[in-house]
Assembly symmetry: C2
Homo-oligomer: 635 residues x 2
Amino acid sequence: MNFKRPIVIFIMGVSGVGKSTIGNLLSKALSLPFFDGDDFHPQKNKTKMANGQSLNDADRSEWLLSLNQLAKEQLQHNSCIIACSALKESYRNILKKDIETNVKWIFLSGSFDQISERLKQRKGHFMPATLLKSQFETLEDPLEALKIDITISPEKIIEIIVNEYTNKSEFGLIGLGVMGKSLSRNLVSKNFTLSIFNRHIQGSEEEIAINFKNEFPELVNTLPFDDLQAFVNSLQRPRKILLMVNAGKSVDAVLEDITSLLSKNDVIIDGGNSHYNDTKHRIDSLKGQHIHFIGTGISGGEEGALHGPSIMPSGNKNAYKLVQSYLETIAAKDNNGNPCCTYIGENGSGHFTKIVHNGIEYAEMQLLAEVYFILKKSGKNPDEIATVLASWVNTANSYLLEITIEILRKKDGKGWLIDSILDKSGNKGTGNWATVAIAELGIPNTMIPSALFARYISSFKNERIEMNTMYGEKKSTLEIDNDDLLKAYQLARIVNHHQGFKLLYQASNAYSWKLNLAEIARIWTNGCIIRSQLMEELTDILKENASILMSKKIIPQVKEQKPSLNIIVSKCVVGEISIPCLSDAVNFLNGYSEKNSSANLIQAQRDYFGAHTYQRIDDPSGKSYHTNWKNTNHD
Amino acid sequence: MNFKRPIVIFIMGVSGVGKSTIGNLLSKALSLPFFDGDDFHPQKNKTKMANGQSLNDADRSEWLLSLNQLAKEQLQHNSCIIACSALKESYRNILKKDIETNVKWIFLSGSFDQISERLKQRKGHFMPATLLKSQFETLEDPLEALKIDITISPEKIIEIIVNEYTNKSEFGLIGLGVMGKSLSRNLVSKNFTLSIFNRHIQGSEEEIAINFKNEFPELVNTLPFDDLQAFVNSLQRPRKILLMVNAGKSVDAVLEDITSLLSKNDVIIDGGNSHYNDTKHRIDSLKGQHIHFIGTGISGGEEGALHGPSIMPSGNKNAYKLVQSYLETIAAKDNNGNPCCTYIGENGSGHFTKIVHNGIEYAEMQLLAEVYFILKKSGKNPDEIATVLASWVNTANSYLLEITIEILRKKDGKGWLIDSILDKSGNKGTGNWATVAIAELGIPNTMIPSALFARYISSFKNERIEMNTMYGEKKSTLEIDNDDLLKAYQLARIVNHHQGFKLLYQASNAYSWKLNLAEIARIWTNGCIIRSQLMEELTDILKENASILMSKKIIPQVKEQKPSLNIIVSKCVVGEISIPCLSDAVNFLNGYSEKNSSANLIQAQRDYFGAHTYQRIDDPSGKSYHTNWKNTNHD
């Protein structure tokens, strides 16, 4: 038998459950070599067991490593079958080391009484039945395994296993939009077997899956469906299903239809931009049915999804392990070759992290829009602006900078394409959610909201035209030093990233998510829209300090760039150019480093009209004071 | 009988229900004059009725007005009792014209059969029983009346009525915090009879109501309670109860306790800063029990609550009418003597309006804090700053400006009090909710969020000190022209009000509230924290244009003030003074009047990485375009 890629089928379970019998029968059915793990025990282990002694973990380690080695050697040539009790998760971790994506588990399961009876009737086996009890105590339920009841006949068991691995797919994907299609092709390119499903809607979504399969030759072995039951039946158990449907009601609609079709330990991964509170709610509501729900942010757009996105999964950690190898394999790789995918934390923390990612992205895009506008108002045409930006690639490179340069250079029949694009920008909810989270968590993240509001202003195009008529055209003489502009841009980006990671930091504290900021920065160094040179620097900086602006590596840069930011912002203000995010950066820096701010007046006002009280600087106890302000001491 | 203030008891109901009988008995019991309305019919009406003809509304108008006149004359001296069928709401409106707060309604209610039987047995009455049917058809259930079943004996009915008006209060108030206490005193000062309730919490809230009553001599007739059942029983029906408890769980806790104690048509008014969605939910959930819920914003702080706040009630309009006279009487009065209280709209629109009020307040306070800080950084001491601000009172006066001047002049033993106040400002939720609403509704209101975030920054005092140590003290040489500063301040306030009323306008459209912006501005001209000269101007401006910046009266001011705002903001940026709201004002003005903004680049970026498509300026059809940006037309 040749699978799409070589696999190792580990047959596991307690002693006496029938691993060798099934292994030998399966070997014949699939024409694959079978190895009985017990044959690879060192003599000292065999002796111990014959003497009625349990093996300890140290005894097992050498043995398990040799089986892992055996599996690796076999995988060089072809698939194979290995029987091994593999009772603990830690044992299975040794067995699958470095070959996780090639390993399948079959768990032969029976009751103590059934197996005890079998052992009594067995001859020539060196393990006394008295050790069975300890085996049952050691056994840690393998979530990752296809569980088979040994009351089924061996012939039927073989039929089940053969059907599972020859006719079924390892992974399922629901929702063949732009992202779903790209991720499907990505999965197949990594030699995973795949089933794909898209709903059937008369007149608007018909035969999406089959047409998509037919469009791409590499999908020849992919199983396409528009029938959900058939799709679910086509998946190896425990099933792994990635949802790529619209956030909100569409996710709930799929869950409502699919839940009754699933089995214990199946995993649903929601890869859309769902709200983190919805994700938490879904995880909780599926728990009762022992179905796992992983909420994951996926960034990279169409191309990232195809060649390797950045992936931010969250939920129950053990459930995550069931899909980890798939997600890590399709993810982008960082500079060190590690996957841009890491377990983020419990509940909806992965989707929250994606919201912050998108929030940072909003502000990064807005900063580039402001830079573009400043250069445009300085009299430059798109090609000239692109030339300026291209000179920044060495010092301030990012994916967004690169595509901006390409965009500015793009021409159509009428000239630069950028000049024909309507200046009303859309948004799909994550910038809004980020802003709401910022407000609710009490975090002074100003740039994400401003970037969102800049989009909102742009959407009121008619009002802008009306205002323009009423107030007249702006002054247009703006003289900007390009080096100042670069420094201002770099510093504003630092502030944006400071605020974004602070948002993660504060949310992590508020929700007890224990987020690893440096690790999040690392998975954002490739695959995602906000990948950049700065993000690579942050992977180190965030290991030492959650507050980027307080990092010793950053402080000198900020000090050097600040005068340029001041100059650019003040020139734009006088020149009447709207630069909300650059302004926010400068105001945040000024306010955030102000030892004694003007908030004392606000506290006095609140106490005056609402008796809200205030604290005093000369009383560190934090005591509340109230003043009757009306009794002035002079008239 | 002398009531706390003279009242007119109208006894109403269909002909034959026993109005005269009850009126005469009640007259004796209360020692008050009784007038039978029928005696005041002009002869033509009597003739018509004797001929078996129904009266039409024109017939009645003259008659009802004469009864209203009678009531007014009596009220000059004392209370009285008047019997009148008053079947329609429009009739009752004539009867209570100009004396609404002095009118009580008793609705004698019986079935058609009961009354028909009575009429047959009655002698000397000029109305044939055949007209009864038309009376029943005409009758509009009086929500405002004490409804009494005529199967009860006349003696018992008199007992009920006497008890209602001699032993019970007209109005109840729950929650004796700062606002609840002031509103209680306000109600009593207007001669309303009042019951007050505060929960009992061992060790923290004990005997609050009785102690409060004993503290103020004017509360001598006020009934204090810490037992909810007794409190409810002490109120005239339909009961009118104002909740002044903390928004959120406290409101729900009171509702859970009180609902089962109430009767049909009782009204609960939530005067706290509840979320508008909670208010909608509460209105809906109480509907089933025929209990009315009015959500109202109340602004004015402690002093406003005492002498006259601005009141923003919403909910079912008919339910509002039951409490309208109370709320309008205790409200502040505008320049024309009209109450600063108006029905805002359905559902939670009143609480939403309060949220926007508070949002505007946040930004107004922040602008004053920024002005204060600029003047402080220019080397002025608090008295000198107060002197500058005092010179603005003629042109830019507002309550907040006035109290700021008082605050700055206040000294304690150590010098100016403002210098001893800790610069960490608090917030109680409404600024947050306003920001969330702004984000969710897609409205480019930038100043409220910035004012909120300025408070958030202030709360990170330790980080600010740390940053200050790392980055060093700011430059402190700032030379500002006071006239520029005044103009900048005035213009920023115009932008703030533009944004605030736009938020109301867009929410009104989104939720179909039909808000009257000019009327809302009018009730904000007195009593509330954001009352100001500008607000008075807006009451006219908003009648013509929901967009303040597009008003012909405003445009010349903006044009004149804009250069000053530009100068102030640019000087502060170079001088490294944080001025987020002034900056927002200038950026909003620049962005909102930009015919061709930089959002075309954002749309291009979104199409590049996410295939989100864009529209073209040369295709007004709104068609979506997608470009394969990678195929550049030059290398």
